[in-house]
Subunit: 148 residues, 2 copies
């Protein structure tokens, strides 16, 4: 049976929850190729003292080196709207489809990203709540993650 | 004595040469804060099987977690014009000044980047030659690095 976008976003959400349990920022991502998850990742700012491992970047990094042909068959799922860095990575590798869990807690440059990829906002309340609860408790850390 | 932009670009070039000696793609970067190099990096696609560690990203990663106030005092030097991913990272962290070694072998979205940062092309022949020699010998690898 063909899996739904909601199914894959829930897998990204599992990554976000995993990040939270590690003491990190709860944003998760999965990379899907031909209907199969080929990579998973979550924000590792805290865990790895990382300035670059946002969820989408961690997911792309965990996928390893792919060819442009492989990327062209991929969709990326992120529980939160991608920032300029992650959007830039999606643009670089020409990933044609981007599913986002929500964009109410943060909205990246979606208008720009839409020039390069199809962007679908699933508006999932679970993604939104996980993030808004975290931001309320950790405003300073959250600001750091988005360069504020 | 105040160090010149050319001095810092030569340090970025040292990183590029270091990468080449490791068998990697010869692009280097340094992050300068208040006239001092606080981080260095080079492309690690080959060395770490990395899809995200372009020179600028490696350099930002090696700098660790900085505050927005710290980034606001930084300049980043890269031997090659930053791609969309690296430009997006510079935009995210609001690094106000970007020095590039050259943009003849590759030109990232500089026009867009200029909305967020001052971009200065030093047009250094050493940077250009190192890269063009590499691309001639490794066209397939180079294409992979820029998502082609």
């Amino acid at each position: 049976m063909k899996k739904t976008p909601e199914y894959f976003m829930k897998e990204a959400l599992k990554e976000a929850v995993k990040g939270l349990k590690e003491g990190g920022i709860p944003i998760g991502a999965v990379l899907v190729k031909n209907g199969k998850i080929i990579s998973r990742g979550h924000n590792r700012r805290i865990q790895k003292k990382s300035a670059v491992l946002h969820a989408e970047m961690d997911c792309l990094e965990n996928a390893g080196r792919l060819t442009s042909k492989e990327y062209s068959k991929c969709e990326i799922y992120s529980t939160l709207s991608p920032c300029s860095m992650c959007s830039g990575a999606i643009e670089l590798y020409k990933i044609p489809k981007v599913y986002i869990g929500e964009n109410r807690n943060f909205k990246g440059p979606e208008k720009r990203l839409k020039k390069y990829a199809k962007v679908i906002n699933l508006k999932m309340p679970q993604c939104q709540k996980l993030m808004s609860d975290f931001i309320k408790k950790n405003p300073k850390l959250w600001n750091e993650d988005i360069g504020l």
